[in-house]
């Protein structure tokens, strides 16, 4: 296809295009339907971590592991017990955070 035919087809297509459609109340209809935007999820993460922490401590309170881990932690040494305690706290907190975020969605 040569240049002249190309430009004549382009011109024809442009002529055939009606251009923007008039509003006719469209914008008002859309604005009436606009939902409120979700607020930023600032509180969910700390809330989830706190819930996880409390849940974890509550579960571990009946075992000697928490006491041993806490004593080692306070003495500044990372024993198996304190490492397991920290991992358990972290895992439960992450699970609780994930649950909180999923609930919001």
């Amino acid at each position: 296809m040569n240049e002249q035919h190309d430009s004549s087809i382009r011109a024809l297509l442009r002529e055939n295009f009606d251009g923007p459609v008039a509003d006719d109340g469209f914008c008002d209809r859309v604005m009436r339907q606009l939902p409120a935007r979700r607020r930023a999820r600032r509180w969910q993460l700390p809330a989830g971590i706190l819930t996880g922490l409390v849940a974890c401590l509550w579960h571990l309170s009946s075992t000697p592991l928490i006491r041993a881990g806490w004593q080692d932690w306070m003495q500044g040494s990372i024993s198996h017990a304190s490492a397991i305690m920290l991992l358990a706290v972290m895992a439960t907190s992450l699970l609780a955070s994930w649950w909180a975020l999923a609930e919001v969605d």
Binding site: R10, L12, P20
Partner: protein
Amino acid sequence: MGDQDAEARIDQALVARALLGDDKYAFAQLLRRHQGMVRAQLRRLLPDDEATVDDLAQEVFLQAWRKLDQFRGAARFSTWLYRIAYTCFLQANRRKAGTLEDTGGEHEVLPAAARTVDLQLDLERAMRRLSHAERGVLLHCVQLGLSHDEAAYVLSMPLGTVKSHATRGKAKLQNWLSAWQEIETNR
């Protein structure tokens, strides 16, 4: 180009305002600035179905409002809207599958009548006989004035495919409407 840049800056400022303070007034301005062309795009994609066009256009702007924080400004706001609109169109089309079939008849020449209105009608008919992809590319590149890159973004097609659809589509139209060109030449 300068006008386009200025328009793009206004759109970006309005998007920032709409996001920052949950400002519905800023979004209303974006809506007023772009509804006409988005609805024109959908009307070309769905001729003879104005009710569906307006439903889809409404869905486009509701989605734009929900996804506004995903607009990064890499493309123009209008191009971003065209992409949402084209995706909505494809989804609606999938729901009522089979309404947009690619048509053949590449060598048939449409009969020429001697009036401009008839030329318009023949062009409409010829456009409908183009494949879905060719029609989409010509609509976005020629009628909506997007660059090939922008059309590739809207249609989710590789750039080379957009260019080849544009060339093939125009060649087909030229072939089908050749009788009109003969009349023009003989005048």
